[in-house]
Symmetry: C2
Subunit: 159 residues, 2 copies
Amino acid sequence: MSINEDHKKFMTEAIILSQESVSRGGGPFGTVIVKDGKVVGRGVNRVTKSNDPTAHGEIVAIREACANLNSFRLDDCVLYTSCEPCPMCLGAIYWSRVKEVFFANTREDAASIGFDDALIYDEISAPLHDRKIEFRQIMREEAIPVFHSWTKKEDKIPY
Amino acid sequence: MSINEDHKKFMTEAIILSQESVSRGGGPFGTVIVKDGKVVGRGVNRVTKSNDPTAHGEIVAIREACANLNSFRLDDCVLYTSCEPCPMCLGAIYWSRVKEVFFANTREDAASIGFDDALIYDEISAPLHDRKIEFRQIMREEAIPVFHSWTKKEDKIPY
């Protein structure tokens, strides 16, 4: 099987997951994560079914893959998702260190069916005081010693 | 108690959580979520302890608050976090619909102790082909019918 056919096979599985999710009343999004040619994590959107706004397909799949691999890193893993990741999931993808991402539907497709990531993309690069949700900084003086205690801690696990 | 003192009280709790987290070997981050003057969710960074790269304090607190309130939305909630949220958590904050965010340490403080969100902030606004993790689009033709089936579904729960 060529590399291209592998990619098609795993994306097909992500798309099938997204369709099954719709059939079961969930959001139309599915994700699979693959390592060494094997699926190590799967996820569908469970926001409304789990009362969890963070339960996008990508986040669910990343959590499952990490649990299966006993690791908080997904080096050498490839993520296949039926739609371009939103900023939350993009952040999770970077923190997880997957090496490559394939997606099918685009953020514009998602916006056209009512999932509008564009606001969040705009807000991320907006200055704090121009955001639709107000972000206010307070009490840095009280909080910064905790960061210093982290720096000094010798047995910490960096990540 | 004035509004200002309320904000200080809840931020102090978030900072104490961040310090306790360091003491227990976790990352130096804590979050509390408040509704109607009561804490409805708490979170500390559990990335390394739970093998979950998505388990930032904010995400953990949002999931707990939603579970406690039986809702996938946190309207009228205020989030207090000991450090400026990373892009993943910022996305989660928007999806959760909290109304206001207070933070103490800044993203620059986080970068100075090795938690560098700056890369992710840059990558989010970068074109797909310029990103450090490659994002490739394939098979939209196969995936788009699932979005259409979502649009047609009459008993769906929009969010």
